[in-house]
Symmetry: C2
Subunit: 577 residues, 2 copies
Amino acid sequence: MRGFTYLSKVLHSHSSYSKLLVLCSVSTGGLLVYAESNVESGKQVVEQNQPESKKKRVVVLGTGWGGTSFLKDVDISSYDVQVVSPRNYFAFTPLLPSVTCGTVEARSIVEPVRNIIKKRSGEIQFWEAECLKIDPENRTVSCRSGINDNLAGQNDFSLQYDYLVVAVGAQVNTFNTPGVMEHCHFLKEVEDAQRIRRTVIDCFEKSVIPGLSEEERRTNLHFVIVGGGPTGVEFAAELHDYVYEDLVKIYPSVKDFVKITVIQSGDHILNTFDERISSFAEQKFQRDGIEVSTGCRVTSVSDHFINMKVKSTGKHVEVPYGMVVWSTGVGTRPFVKDFMEQVGQEKRRILATDEWLRVKGCSNVYALGDCASIDQRKVMEDISAIFKAADKDDSGTLSIEEFRDVLEDIIIRYPQVDLYLKNKHLLEAKDLFRDSEGNEREEVDIEGFKLALSHVDSQMKSLPATAQVAAQQGTYLSRCLNRWDQCKSNPEGPRHFKSSGRHEFLPFEYRHLGQFAPLGGDQAAAELPGDWVSMGHSTQWLWYSVYASKQVSWRTRYLVVGDWVRRYIFGRDSSRI
Amino acid sequence: MRGFTYLSKVLHSHSSYSKLLVLCSVSTGGLLVYAESNVESGKQVVEQNQPESKKKRVVVLGTGWGGTSFLKDVDISSYDVQVVSPRNYFAFTPLLPSVTCGTVEARSIVEPVRNIIKKRSGEIQFWEAECLKIDPENRTVSCRSGINDNLAGQNDFSLQYDYLVVAVGAQVNTFNTPGVMEHCHFLKEVEDAQRIRRTVIDCFEKSVIPGLSEEERRTNLHFVIVGGGPTGVEFAAELHDYVYEDLVKIYPSVKDFVKITVIQSGDHILNTFDERISSFAEQKFQRDGIEVSTGCRVTSVSDHFINMKVKSTGKHVEVPYGMVVWSTGVGTRPFVKDFMEQVGQEKRRILATDEWLRVKGCSNVYALGDCASIDQRKVMEDISAIFKAADKDDSGTLSIEEFRDVLEDIIIRYPQVDLYLKNKHLLEAKDLFRDSEGNEREEVDIEGFKLALSHVDSQMKSLPATAQVAAQQGTYLSRCLNRWDQCKSNPEGPRHFKSSGRHEFLPFEYRHLGQFAPLGGDQAAAELPGDWVSMGHSTQWLWYSVYASKQVSWRTRYLVVGDWVRRYIFGRDSSRI
Ligand SMILES: Cc1cc2nc3c(=O)[nH]c(=O)nc-3n(C[C@H](O)[C@H](O)[C@H](O)COP(=O)(O)OP(=O)(O)OC[C@H]3O[C@@H](n4cnc5c(N)ncnc54)[C@H](O)[C@@H]3O)c2cc1C
Ligand SMILES: Cc1cc2nc3c(=O)[nH]c(=O)nc-3n(C[C@H](O)[C@H](O)[C@H](O)COP(=O)(O)OP(=O)(O)OC[C@H]3O[C@@H](n4cnc5c(N)ncnc54)[C@H](O)[C@@H]3O)c2cc1C
C-alpha cells in the first residue's frame, strides 16, 4: 500500500493530471481503481451557499488552537467543512512572548490555514473573514471579509450550517480601566507582538537623542507590565534578556536608565502555579532587578503616567512610563455576547456548554477553547435520580454493591467525584459510606447518600483558558462528529440517570500535561503531571524540546529552531521594522 | 601582534573591564601599553552639540549604501562622526524584490546601523531622526526624530558640522501622474515590500470569498507593474514564481484568473541592459504568460482602473486591476531641493557635485549616491587652459611629446577622454592628432587641438543610480577624509590646468562590476565586466553566490542563505502578517 499512498501524493501535487487511473498495486498484486476528483480545478467552484445534499455542512469559526485541532482530525469524507477566520494563519501563541523581543520571528510561529487544510486533501474551504453574527434560528452565520482595500466585489456573505463549531477565542479585557485601550499594548495577536518589538526599540532610540534630560531618558526606558500571570512574567523575562544581552551593547549611554516593573494585583506573581515556582520566579526577578509590585491595582493610564492604588496602604501612586503592556483579563467578543443573548445566556460572563461542548440553549452549535466554558453538572442536582437508578431492588436503601455498580458511570458523568476520591485519599467506594465517626456502613438511605456526596461538588473546577484545553477539545469534538452514526447506534457514554439509556459520547475529559513558565536567562520553571516541579537551566532545555516538538509543521519547527540558533550566535535584531 | 589584536577584541567586548592595561605581547616579546577609554559607560554622554575641540565633526545623513560604506571606513581617530537617519538599519536593496514574495524575509536583509558602528569601536554616534533642513551658512543640520509615540522629551534637535556627508538617496517620482500616490504601491523601502506581500495575499483571499463574480475575481487577481526596469522586472518574475510555485496550490479555485502585466513606456523592458538580455527577458516572460505592454504611458490611476495611452495608436485604454506597483522614476527629497536653492542649484533636477563629490555652491558639504549626480567637467570648457599648460615652450603649437606629457593628467581629470580613446580604438596619443584625412601630424595649434578633442565630451555619461555607485563613492570619500593631512602636503590628484599645482585627491572613478537581472524560475541574466553576457540557470547560481557574499554581516548572510534553503524545502509562506 505504500506505493499507492506515494502515488496518490504525487497525483495530488500534480492535480491537473489527476484522472481516473487504473493502478497496478505492486505490493498487493491486486488491481486498484483510483479516482481523484479534480477539486483543484478552477471551474469547479462549488456553490457555497447551498449545502451539498449528501454531506452535512460543518462551519468552523476560528483557526486558533481549538479550531485548528478540530480541522486536523475531522473526517472530510463525511462532512462538508467550511472555515471562517479573520486571520489566514494559525499562531503558536506560547511563543508570542518570544516574538516581542525577536528571540523568535513572527513568521516562524505561524502556519497558513490553507497549508494545514491542504494536507487534508484540499476539500476544506477557508474564507478569510470575521463572523459578525450567528443566527441559531436559521442556522446561518453572517461574515465580512476584513480586506479594506479597493478590491472588487462585496465583503459580506453568509453561510448556512448543519453544525457550527465556535472556536473564536477571547479578546482582551480592560475591566473598563480608563486609558488602557488608548495607551497600553496588549499581547494576544501576532501583530501585537510585532508592535511591542518596535516600541521597545522606539523607547531606546528616543531616549538617546540629543537634548533630553536624564529624567526623560529614564521615563522612556521604564517598561511596565500589568499582570503577573504566565504571559506577563514571560514577557518581562524576555524583555530583560533582550535589554541586557543585546540592547545595552548598542545603546551603552543609557544602559543604567532601564527599569522593568511588573504590577500584580494579587500577593504573588504566577499565583496559579505551585508556590515553589512562584517564589522561585520572584527571587529570580529580584536578582535580575525586575521590580515586582504586588498588591497594586491599576486605576487608570494616561499618556505619560500609570496610576495605581496600593492595596495595603490605600494610597494612589502615579508612575511615569515609556511603555505599558496590559497582560491580564480575558473578555468575550461582542458577537458572541449577542449570540449568548439569543440563546438565553445573557446573564453569563462566558458562553456555557455542557460536558459534550454543546452550547446550552440551542442545538447543533458547539463551542470550545477560550470563548466558552463547560458548565459542569453538579452531583447534587441529580442526586435523587442517581439514587433511584442505583437502587436496583427499589429497597429505598443503597448497598455497597449497588453503589459499586453505578460508580463508574457516576465518575464519567461527574468527574468531580473522582477528584474528590483522589484528594481525600479514598481508595474504595465503601470509604464514601463511612459515617461521621468513620465507621463502615453496608447501606445508606437517600439522606445518607446525600451526606456522603455532599462535599463532592466542591471539587468542581472550570478549565483554564489554555492552548492545551482548546486543542484537546478540538480533537475531542472531531472524534465525536467522525463517529456520529456509529455512536448513535452504539452509545459509548455514561448512562442517563434521569432517563434510560446511555449518552452517545463520553463527555470531554481534560488531561493536564503540565505547564511551563520561562523566566529568562535560559531558566524556566515547570509544573509537570503528578505534582512534579522542575526549575532552572535544565527546565529551559526541556522547554526548548517540548516547544520544538509541539510545532504544527516541519516548516515552523525548522524556523523556530533556526531562530533559537540564530539568537545564540548573533543575538537579537534591533532594526525597527 | 595577533595575540594583541585578539586581546583587544576580547577587552572590547567586555568594555566594563577595560582599564589601563599592560600587556606582554608574546609574539614580539615587547611591552605594549594599551589604554582603552570607557566609551560605553553610561556617564560619559558627550555633549553632542559642541564639537570636540580636537577632532573635526563629520555629520553623515543617511545609512543606505552610500552612508554605510562611508561609515565602514572613516577613521574615527581623526573625526568625530555623527550619523542621522530615519531608519536605524541598513537595507540590502537588491534583495527587496525577493522580500515582496517572502523568498527572503525582510529581517534577513537589514542590519542595524548600531551593529555596524559597534564594530567601529562604538565612537560613532547615531540618531534615529530625519534631517529637515541643511543650513550651509551656519554649518548646522536640523533634525527631527520620527517616533510619534507619547515618549518623553523633544523630538527636534540640531547638529553642527565641520563636514557634512549627504547620502539620503532618492524618493519615488510619480511624474505628477494623478492617483499614483493614493493607489499604487512602491518598492523603495522595506515596509513597501512588506506591504506588497500582504496585499498580494489580500488579493487572493478576496478573490476566493463567496459571492464574487468571475469578473471580480479576475480583476482582483490582475497584478500590474508600471516600469520595465530591473526592479519592476524582478518583481514581476518573483510574483510569477510565488503565484505558480506556491499560491495556486492553496488557492486552486482561482488559479486560472491570475494575470501579471508589465507596463513599459519604452520599446523594450530592461532597456538599460544589453539587447540580448532584454530580448531573453521578453521571451521568458512570454513563455511564462507575463504580459508585457511596451510603448504605453500611464496617464492616471483611479481606485479600480489604471488608464494608459498606447503611444503607437494614441488611444487611451482603461484596465481594471487588483494591485499596481509603481516602479519607475527617482525624485529629489524636499529638504534636498531646499538645500539646492540655498546653494544656487535651484534650476537643477538633482544635486550636483564635482568629481570629488563636493556639492557645488558651498563648502565642506559632500553628496553621494542616488541623491546627487557628478557634474563632470567638459574638456571643451578648459581647452585653452589645457593647451596653455601643455605648451611648455610657449610656441603656440603642441607637439606630440608635449601632449603625451599631460595626457595622463587629462585622462584622470576628464575620464571621458579615456572612454573616447577606447571606443574609437585609438591606442596612442598621436592618433588623436591625425587630420581629417587620417594623416599623422607632429604638431597642432589651438584650433587643431580643439578639433582633435571636439568629440570627446560626447562620451560623458552620468553614473547610474545604483548601489554599486553609492557604495564606491562612500568608500572613496572616507579614504579622502582619512588622508586629508597627508594629501594636503602631498597632493595625489591631477594637475590644475587653470592654475598651478595639483588637486589634493584623485577624482572619484567608478568601476562597473556588472549587473544582474533575475528573471524567475531560477533563471537570471547578467551583464559582466568586459561586455560578457550570461543567461539562464547557471547565472542564477552566480547571482546566489554574489548576493550571499555581498551581505554586510555574517548574520544577514546566515539569514539570507537560510531563507533560500527554507524556500527550496518548504516554499514561501502565505500568512498575512
Ligand atoms: C501571549 C500568550 C501566550 C500564551 N501561552 C500559552 C502557553 O504557553 N500554554 C498554553 O496552554 N496556553 C497559552 N496561551 C493561551 C492560548 O493561546 C489560548 O488558550 C488558546 O489560544 C485558546 O485557543 P482558542 O482556539 O480558543 O482561541 P485562539 O487560539 O485565540 O483562536 C481564536 C481564533 O478565532 C479567530 N476569530 C476571532 N474573531 C473571530 C470572528 N469574529 N469570526 C471568526 N473567527 C474569529 C481568531 O482569528 C483565531 O483564529 C497563551 C496566550 C497568549 C495570548
Ligand atoms: C527594489 C530595489 C532594488 C534595487 N536593486 C539594485 C541592484 O540589484 N543593484 C544595484 O546596484 N542597485 C540596486 N538598487 C538601487 C540602490 O538601492 C540605490 O542605488 C542605492 O540604495 C543608493 O544608495 P544611497 O546611499 O544613495 O541611498 P539609499 O540606499 O536609498 O539610502 C538613503 C538613506 O538615507 C536615509 N534618509 C532618507 N531621508 C533622510 C533624511 N531626511 N535625513 C537623513 N537620512 C535620510 C534613508 O533612511 C536611507 O538610510 C535597487 C533599488 C531598489 C529600490
